[in-house]
């Protein structure tokens, strides 16, 4: 894995409280799971960023090595890797995710009605 890619990823993760590496953009998701993840975070109302790595195979490989996670999307919250909605969904049902997000942003979710999956 190139050091440059690793630094690029670390900088992106550090610059965004919620960061999604996915296929396609927020406006034009190009994968059902990426879309699902965008909708998932839209439900909370906190700002989040989506980085499209669909065509960037070296970066996808670097991300997989760094996270021990082979698939996209990959979600980072406050610098910590949380996998995808298969992990985040159950965490939200238990209320754990809400606590993590509240601590990351220092405030309650902007949206009060949270519809899960």
């Amino acid at each position: 894995m190139s050091e440059q890619l690793k630094h690029e990823i670390e900088a992106e993760v550090g610059a965004n409280k919620i960061l999604v590496y996915g296929k396609g953009t927020k406006d034009v998701p190009r994968c059902g799971f990426t879309l699902e993840t965008i909708q998932f975070f839209n439900n909370f109302g906190y700002p989040f960023e989506v980085v499209d790595v669909l065509e960037n195979m070296p970066k996808r490989e670097a991300l997989s090595q760094m996270t021990d996670w082979p698939t996209l999307p990959k979600v980072f919250i406050d610098g910590t890797f949380y996998g995808d909605t298969d992990v985040l969904g159950p965490m939200a049902e238990k209320g754990e995710l809400q606590t993590i997000l509240k601590n990351a942003f220092g405030s309650e979710a902007p949206k009060t009605t949270i519809q899960l999956r």
């Binding site: 799971f33 996670w69 890797f81 298969d86 992990v87």
Partner: protein
Amino acid sequence: MIANDAIVALIRETMPDAEVTVFDRTGTMDHFNIGVTSAAFAGKTLIQQHQMVYRALKAAHSDGRIHAIELTTTVAE
């Protein structure tokens, strides 16, 4: 493409006690719903549990036999 049995075998290589259910979501043998129950998940966070399964299936992901997985993990009682 990978057969359901082969997925079960890969997971049991690292977690011999694992109860594994595999459902081919698309009929194309590369998009799966997988459920894994194992005592090896005890004391692990959900993300760690999922990483354990993904590590077991790493080769099948790397060579493209598996495209996508919806994964559910459960700690065996």
